[in-house]
């Protein structure tokens, strides 16, 4: 006969922890779903006393925020977990970092003391390395990008090809030379406000092609350097975990 599912949380939440992790090297090719599976298994390997939801298939309390696209590296991804026993954030950081494969690295853990974390992720700072693109060419393209008010680009989505503006969300965009042995690798630094539709680094690259025919001969290497609340100048973002640390 059908048996009733338990209606209360199997293990209630007593503490919430916010984690910043990095996606580096070859593991930048992991998708968000790949990360979710790896993370939930790492929680079990690290013996983190997770809180679980109710039902026949209880799920560990994990919320993911705003994941970087597959193929893009990141120094600033965020996830929040609920635990059923109070934990030491430093120990959680060390244990989870050890349990995750190299390339998925837990860099910071704080106890959540404030609400509305996701809303603090207002913008991202991206670094776009353009191997094979000389600095002058990249500078020229950036200049043409910045004088435009709107640049329509297209992206293939689940609902077919969509056209949208990739310019307005870009708060700042500048260009630096590649370091050391690789002068023919311009490096862009771009601050993009989160919104709908979300403008991603590859949309900015499409926009550069559109306005200046910039076509990188090799695949660009993209890294999210930071995400968080925009600073007043609008050229960088602050640490989104700072209010929890202060609280």
């Amino acid at each position: 006969m059908a048996r009733p599912a338990p209606d209360r949380d199997v293990a209630p939440t007593v503490q919430r922890l916010r984690l910043r992790y990095a996606k580096r090297g070859r593991l930048r090719f992991s998708s968000h779903r790949d990360f979710q599976r790896a993370f939930e298994r790492a929680l079990r390997r690290a013996d983190v006393p997770m809180a679980y939801s109710a039902g026949f298939n209880p799920h560990p309390k994990v919320s993911y925020a705003n994941a970087a696209p597959t193929g893009v590296a990141s120094e600033a991804e965020y996830v929040e977990i609920g635990v059923a026993a109070r934990c030491d954030p430093g120990k959680i950081r060390a244990a989870l970092d050890e349990a995750l494969p190299p390339g998925l690295d837990v860099v910071d853990v704080v106890e959540a003391r404030t609400p509305d974390f996701a809303q603090r992720l207002e913008a991202s700072v991206w670094q776009v390395e353009l191997p094979g693109v000389p600095l002058d060419e990249a500078r020229g393209a950036v200049g043409r990008f910045l004088v435009e008010e709107e640049i329509l680009v297209e992206r293939l989505t689940k609902n077919g090809i969509r056209s949208f503006d990739a310019r307005a969300a870009v708060i700042s965009l500048d260009c630096a030379p590649g370091d050391g042995p690789n002068p023919d690798c311009a490096i862009l630094r771009v601050v993009v406000r989160h919104g709908t539709p979300s403008v991603r680094p590859d949309d900015v690259i499409s926009a550069l092609r559109r306005v200046a025919d910039l076509v990188p001969p090799k695949p660009p290497r993209v890294t999210r350097l930071a995400q968080g609340p925009l600073d007043e100048a609008g050229t960088s973002v602050a640490d989104p975990l700072a209010p929890d640390r202060a609280g």
């Binding site: 006969m1 059908a2 048996r3 199997v10 070859r26 593991l27 090719f29 992991s30 998708s31 779903r33 790949d34 599976r37 790896a38 939930e40 298994r41 790492a42 929680l43 079990r44 390997r45 690290a46 013996d47 983190v48 006393p49 679980y52 026949f56 298939n57 209880p58 560990p60 597959t70 193929g71 026993a85 109070r86 934990c87 030491d88 120990k91 959680i92 244990a95 349990a99 494969p101 190299p102 390339g103 090799k218 695949p219």
Partner: protein, 645 residues
């Protein structure tokens, strides 16, 4: 060479499958290893990565100080095209080294449909497709796995094949390769192959010649040197508890077909189902002890973080201590968010009790049984002894226990089968639903019938049987479909899943073929055959055209290999490969099949002289060990939990 590959990854699907970096993967120092193995499961990563055989060998080799192993899988056509365009060779996913740089390429074939993927890998690796064209410096290509029990169809492409359990065999080969290298590689590649062949444990096809009769049958297969044994025997690992592998199961980042950890609870099967190659070639039964199983479950969960453990074997409910194992494991993991599963195939009420035990807290969604034959007569032929009454009672017990969906597995095209045998499946499914509705009082119970074409396999009593042609197979399946659809009262509660008969004909050609089929494989691959186990990539017409062209100068064709019944006197292509089964016993069992005589399981009844224990010096190893309690679980010392001050 990850740098070169990395340039291609933004342009292909699911790049994560090619980057490695799995939890518990190992990268050893290249220069510190004397013997280097590339291990390949010749299918996509999502199928190959969970494969237990490859994981076990990977670990056994990497534990040796003098050897290393890395893994490689079949690349999808999108990456294959880019690799060819940019000159990137077949690579390993561990350290991204070129497969052509290894000493050995070991391939594990669970199915013959991976043969064309082997050719793609060899070609991308820069290894000549034909073994005869390879020279010193090319890796030795070694085939293993169940399909290697008749490696004749790929004899042109492989240097050697290994039959049976790989744990000890891989060490034997590694030792021989190491000693040969340390001795200064006497007589080069040929010298090494001869050393391997002389053991009688490694089959080197090039050291055996095949002669044919004018009508196409084989006259004889014999070694072409006096110091090579005339028969090659399979390997049998006798003490499973001494080999608790994988000790460090791989946890892929990419999603795979098995998102769980597996623990093999015993190897071999003596139920004697006549169609089942796995059951025949893995005899005798060797159980892992309750203690060994519990230790592997505990260790594996700590090392992997998986939420589900599958207790694997060919018929897991047959473990002599399964009731204690299931109850104790269920007690231990109750409330821990860890679920246990038993691939259930045996049709009896005990199996339902076990499934109930293992799903105490979880959802009872579906349960699977495999009666295999539609009628009682058919089940006597295949030696799967289940009466219709038992089957209905078992399934009804499952519905009464809260299971909503029952899956029943059948085969079509079994020897002596008629339309009526298959149509009885519809009757059976109807009776199952009727009884299930009565016992539960509910109308939402379902029964799914899954049916595919039977392919006769080497080293089974059906190795002499005619395979049913695909037209008749399909016609029979359509009749079954129509019979289920026509049932107004119960038809809606019965689902039917069937596979058409064409892929089975190609599988049959590759299973029971001889060396002449090698040219068919090569032609099909040249014409584009890849991933033949995937319906979206498989082309029957391509295979038939390849066979017509490649066999044009021989007195044989696809029908000759598949739908033709063999006689007792015929030399079969695999007769020189010793699975331990006595050919006289196999023939008698085939005759018993035709006359519908069933035999019991020799675990609990006297020996039927199948030959395995005598010829291989092995024995059935069945408990009970007398141990009931599980060993203590691992205690974590490094918990992140704060303790009260």
């Amino acid at each position: 060479m990850f740098d070169e590959l990395e340039q291609l990854l933004p342009f292909i699907g699911k790049p994560i499958q090619y980057v490695g970096g799995e939890v518990n993967s190992v990268i050893k120092d290249w220069d510190g290893a004397l013997v280097r193995w590339a291990l390949m499961y010749p299918d996509a990563y999502e199928v190959g990565a969970p494969n237990q055989g490859v994981q076990i060998l990977y670990e056994v080799i990497n534990e040796r100080a003098d050897a290393l192993a890395e893994r490689t899988y079949a690349v999808w056509p999108d990456l294959e095209a880019l690799m060819r365009e940019h000159g990137v060779p077949q690579f390993t996913v561990d350290a991204h080294r070129a497969v052509g740089d290894f000493d050995l390429l070991g391939l594990s074939f669970s199915t013959e449909l991976g043969y064309t993927n082997m050719l793609t890998a060899l070609d991308l690796a820069g290894i000549p497709l034909l073994a005869a064209d390879r020279v010193d410096g090319h890796p030795l290509v070694v085939a293993g796995g169940h399909a290697a029990f008749n490696p004749e169809t790929i004899a042109d492409f492989i240097d050697a094949a290994v039959l049976g359990d790989g744990e000890e065999a891989v060490n034997l080969i590694t030792d021989i390769v190491r000693d040969w290298k340390l001795a200064g590689r006497p007589d080069g590649r040929a010298g090494l192959l001869l050393e391997l062949a002389k053991t009688g444990s490694v089959y080197v096809p090039s050291l055996y010649d095949v002669d044919y009769l004018p009508d196409g049958r084989i006259r004889r297969v014999a070694p072409n040197r006096a110091d090579v044994p005339s028969r090659v025997r399979k390997h049998t690992l006798m003490d499973l508890d001494a080999w608790p592998y994988p000790k460090n199961p791989l946890v892929p980042l990419a999603e795979t077909v098995h998102e769980r950890m597996s623990v093999e609870i015993f190897r071999g099967c003596t139920r004697g189902c006549r169609f089942c190659q796995a059951g025949m070639i893995t005899r005798p039964v060797r159980e892992r002890s309750i203690t060994g199983i519990a230790e592997m479950v505990d260790n594996g969960l700590c090392k992997t973080g998986y939420e589900e453990v599958g207790l694997l074997s060919l018929s897991s409910a047959d473990h002599s201590e399964i009731a204690d194992i299931a109850r104790n494991l269920a007690d231990r993991y109750e409330g821990s968010q860890t679920s246990l599963s038993l691939p259930s195939t045996r049709v009896d009420a005990f199996n339902v009790d076990l499934a109930n035990e293992l799903s105490r807290n979880g959802r009872r969604s579906g349960l699977t049984f495999a009666p295999e034959g539609g009628s009682e007569r058919m089940r006597r032929v295949i030696n799967k002894l289940v009466s219709e009454e038992d089957l209905i009672r078992t399934v009804t017990t499952a519905y009464a226990g809260g299971w909503r969906q029952v899956k029943l597995y059948f085969m079509c095209g079994l020897p002596t089968e008629t339309d009526d045998d298959v149509l009885q499946i519809a009757t059976l499914a109807r009776e199952v639903i009727k009884a299930g509705r009565e016992v539960t009082g509910r109308r939402d119970i379902r029964c799914t019938v899954s049916i595919g074409g039977f392919v006769p396999k080497p080293h089974t009593p059906f190795q002499w049987a005619a395979q049913l042609d695909h037209e008749t197979t399909d016609a029979r399946l359509f009749k079954l479909r129509d019979a289920i659809r026509a049932d107004r009262q119960y038809g809606k509660a019965i689902g039917l899943r069937y596979h058409d008969g064409k892929p089975g004909i190609v599988e049959g050609l590759l299973s029971r073929g001889d060396r002449r089929v090698g040219s068919v494989i090569l032609q099909a691959w040249r014409d584009g055959a890849r991933f033949d186990g995937w319906s979206e990539h498989f082309s029957y017409d391509r295979w038939m055209a390849a066979a017509e062209a490649a066999l044009a100068d021989h007195p044989v064709d696809v029908d000759w290999y598949t739908t033709r019944e063999r006689e007792r006197a015929e030399v079969l292509p695999w007769d020189h490969l010793d699975s331990g089964l006595d050919s006289e016993w196999l023939w008698e069992d085939w005759q018993d099949a035709i006359t519908e005589v069933a035999v019991e399981d020799c675990r609990w009844t006297p020996c039927f002289d199948c030959g395995v224990c005598d010829q291989l010096g092995t024995e059935i190893q069945v408990g009970p060990t007398g141990v009931v309690d599980l060993p203590a679980p691992t205690v974590r010392a490094d918990s992140p939990v704060l303790t009260a001050p």
